[in-house]
Amino acid sequence: MRRTLAILVGNPLSLLGLFLVGIVIFSAVFADFIAPFPEHRGAVVDFANFNQPPAWPNIFGTDLVGRDLFSRILYAYRISLVLGVVVLSIATPIGVIVGLVAGYVGGKTEYVLMRITDVFLSIPPLVLAMAIMGVLEPTLTNGMLAVTSMWWPWYARLVYNLTRSEKEEGYVLAAEVIGASRAYIIFREILPNCVPAIITKMTLDFGFVIIIASSLSFLGLGVQPPTPDLGSMVAGGASYLPDSWWLTLFPALAILIAVFGFNLIGDALREILGADQ
């Protein structure tokens, strides 16, 4: 663990990743203190000051109702990160358990579980989330539900493949011979060997959750105004290009920076932990 961290800090690209992710997390956690206009995260209007290009004190400019874009981006980061944490902490255990059971038990259980997984995987991710958001009300909770429901199958597929190869290893056979229970073998013998791959995927996925969630709100199917969201900010500004470029450019770059950071770390982890899937 400490060795992994040392390598991460030693490589310039992953160091950049740690730095970017650090900025994002810091902004999200301390948004209340950093944001010059914390009240602008809600439904505030300041028409005297609307659609202004970047200038002090609105370093990213102001939006169409006069709110400070910089403050809103900080709060949007907070929502994105919460969403990522919630989605991954629900989707990962579900997917991991499905994958472990299907891979180890085999037979009919495997067939049924993996065909269900296939069904979810054969609907393009964004389309499935869109359909679910379509029938539900567009709220943050439902957004999390929609993204989670399309996320677990990827973990099921990953862990299933790992389990199938681990199952044939000597240590699993040894545990079977001494009469260890199925649950013991699955959770105490096989699972620990899948952890590096799962952690790598989670780091990379943090970025992808931000991508999918912002895509949903870009289409108007995610978090609703006045809650600040990077996707809906880009969508709102796109029709005012190229004159009011700051409305689109800063939220777009904010997404890029956050996801790029997570990808740099995930990419380095993949090489260090040798969990290339």
Partner: protein, 341 residues
């Protein structure tokens, strides 16, 4: 050939089962909708009689299993029901909007193959050099933003700042092309109008590139990774000691084995692109499924939602069958295998 047929048949069967599963899943999602779908579709001003008529038409009073049975029976006749948004059969709507989306995704797929794979080959051939690092950076950046961010950035750069490409649409308004297939590339050729064909091509470059960017990166990375592994094999060393030129070694001997995993990832990326097309279309005002899809979702138009998702999933499954068959054709181990599975 027999093994090829076997691959094809087994893939068709699995895909059919999966597609049935998809139809169940999406049908169930559409029917667990909170509230009365008929009431939601008609809006608060509709009379109770109107709601009753619609409930009857949608067979909402039957059990969900019976409803699904009717749905499948209709589907078998190619009937996806009436869209409450356009008041037309869902199949007519989809037939109108799908070609533009497929055209976009197809061109993006071509870009992925013809830009992504060569970049991967170059990175592997010059690994550790600046070209390798550049390709790595491009591919990491490519997957680091949703397609709508790339679409906006590309549009700002190459349509506004440097006005090289058109800002929006599929073709300039000055051309009127009779609709035959809905695919502009085919229709312009059928009309014998080469200028219109070129114009359509000019319009598709920017949106298709925005859509393809993340896939280009992934294809390049995967190709590079597999080729680097292959470079350590003895037969490459042998080719080198024969004095074959590096270019030939890279393109013929090291690239071949990595083609199969690359094709697999291209098939998977196709799924992502079918979904991401919604985002790119929204930015470039591309008249594809996107606007229709979002509109029917916001109006809770159940038939249209189910139909759209089903068609997109079917398109994805078909592409993956094609990819599997291609792999079977390319892979000598499958092509020449005589043994039954």
């Amino acid at each position: 050939m027999t093994s090829l047929v076997r691959v094809l048949l087994s893939r068709l069967l699995t895909s059919f089962i999966v597609l049935i599963g998809v139809s169940m899943l999406i049908f169930f999602i559409a029917r667990v909708i909170p509230g009365d779908p008929a009431r939601i579709a008609l809006g608060p001003n509709a009379s109770p009689e109107q709601v009753l008529v619609l409930r009857e038409a949608l067979r909402l009073d039957e059990s969900i299993i019976v409803q699904y049975g009717y749905f499948i029976a209709d589907l078998a006749r190619g009937d996806l029901g009436i869209s409450l948004y356009t008041n037309r059969p869902v199949t007519t709507d989809i037939a109108q909007f799908l070609p533009a989306t497929l055209e976009l995704v197809f061109v993006a797929g071509l870009m992925m193959i013809f830009i992504g794979l060569p970049l991967g080959i170059l990175a592997a051939r010059y690994r550790g050099r600046w070209i390798d690092h550049t390709v790595r950076l491009i591919s990491l950046l490519g997957v680091s933003a949703p397609s709508f961010v790339w679409a906006v950035i590309l549009m700002m750069t190459f349509a506004f700042i440097l006005p090289v490409f058109p800002i929006a649409g599929r073709i300039s308004d000055s051309y009127t092309i009779p609709v035959a297939s809905g695919f502009l590339f085919i229709d312009t050729l059928l009309a014998g109008n080469l200028r219109a064909f070129a114009n359509a091509g000019w319009h598709i470059i920017l949106p298709a590139f925005a859509l393809a960017l993340s896939g280009i990166g992934q294809a390049a990375r995967l190709t590079r990774a597999n080729m680097v592994e292959t470079y350590d094999k003895p037969y490459i060393e042998m080719a080198r000691s024969y004095g074959f030129p590096e270019k030939r070694i890279a393109n013929r001997y090291a690239f071949r084995p990595s083609l199969i995993p690359s094709l697999t990832i291209i098939g998977l990326d196709f799924a992502a692109m079918l979904g991401n097309a919604f985002l790119v279309e929204a930015v470039f005002a591309w008249p594809g499924l996107s606007r229709y899809g979002v509109a029917v979702i916001l109006r809770k138009d159940l038939n249209a939602i189910v139909g759209t998702v089903l068609i997109i999933s079917a398109a994805f499954l078909i592409v993956n069958i094609i990819v599997d068959v291609l792999i079977a054709i390319i892979n000598p181990r499958i092509r020449h295998s005589q043994r039954p599975k």
